[in-house]
Symmetry: C2
Subunit: 131 residues, 2 copies
C-alpha cells in the first residue's frame, strides 16, 4: 500500500474575498489534477478555515504526510516565522508532526511561489489578455 499524501495550500487571508477565492480555487485545481493527493486550503488570518482547522480536517483521510505550501508570491516574515509557528515546526528541521487517529502524521513545509518560469508565463499571458 503506497503512502497517502496531503497538500495544505496556505493563503494569507483577507477581509476581502479575493485572496480566499484564489487560494481555494488553486487547491481545487490541484485536487482535480492529482486525485491521489488529499488537498485542503487554510488561511493564516482573517479568512476561514484557519491553518489549524485545515490541518485537523485531514483527520480520517489516512494521510501519512502533509506538505504545507504557502500560496505567497515571495518569502518574508509570514513564511519564515508566522506559518512555521502555527504549524509548530521544529525550527532546525523545518518539519513537524500532528497526531491523527493515534498516528503521527509528518508535516513538511514547501517554499512559496518565488521566481519561476510558470509565473513569468502567467504574467506574460495577463499582458496579452489586454493587448
Amino acid at each position: 500500500m503506497s503512502e497517502k499524501i496531503g497538500i495544505l495550500a496556505i493563503g494569507h487571508g483577507s477581509r476581502l474575498p479575493y485572496n480566499n477565492q484564489v487560494v481555494t480555487e488553486i487547491a481545487g485545481m490541484i485536487a482535480k489534477k492529482h486525485p491521489e493527493y488529499v488537498v485542503k486550503a487554510g488561511f493564516m488570518e482573517m479568512s476561514t478555515p484557519s491553518v489549524e482547522e485545515a490541518l485537523l480536517s485531514f483527520e480520517g483521510t489516512h494521510v501519512s504526510t502533509i506538505v504545507a505550501v504557502p500560496v505567497f508570491l515571495a518569502s518574508g516574515v509570514h513564511i519564515t516565522k508566522d506559518i512555521p509557528a502555527i504549524l509548530k515546526l521544529d525550527p532546525e528541521k523545518n518539519q513537524g508532526s500532528i497526531e491523527m487517529n493515534g498516528q503521527q502524521v509528518k508535516i513538511l513545509y514547501g517554499k512559496p511561489l518565488g521566481s519561476d518560469e510558470l509565473i513569468a508565463d502567467l504574467i506574460f499571458k495577463r499582458a496579452l489578455e489586454v493587448l
Copy 2:
C-alpha cells in the same frame, strides 16, 4: 513597422529583499523569453524603482503601448485603487497614457495572477520538492 510593446511588471515592494527579487527576476525571465518586448519592473512602495520611475524608463525605447501587470496573487485595494491612481488611469476605461518623446504612449492594465492552472502546477511542484 510593427508596434513595439512595453510590459511593466508591478510589485508591491517590501523592506525585505524577497518581493523585489522575485518581481525583478520574473521581469528578467519575460524579457529573455520575449526579446521583442521591452520589459521593466517597478514597485508600489518601499522598493526601487518606483512605478513612476519604471514608467519613465521606457523613454527612448519607442514603445507605443505599455501594459502594466500587477505581480500580485489576488485582487484587492492595491489593484483596484492604488496602482490605477499611480498610473493615472481613466477609471472608466482602466487605461491611461503618458507623453514620451512628444508622443502619447498608451497604458493598458492587466489582471493579477489570480487562480490559474500555472499557479496550481507551481504549488504542486513546490510540494513535490520537499516530499
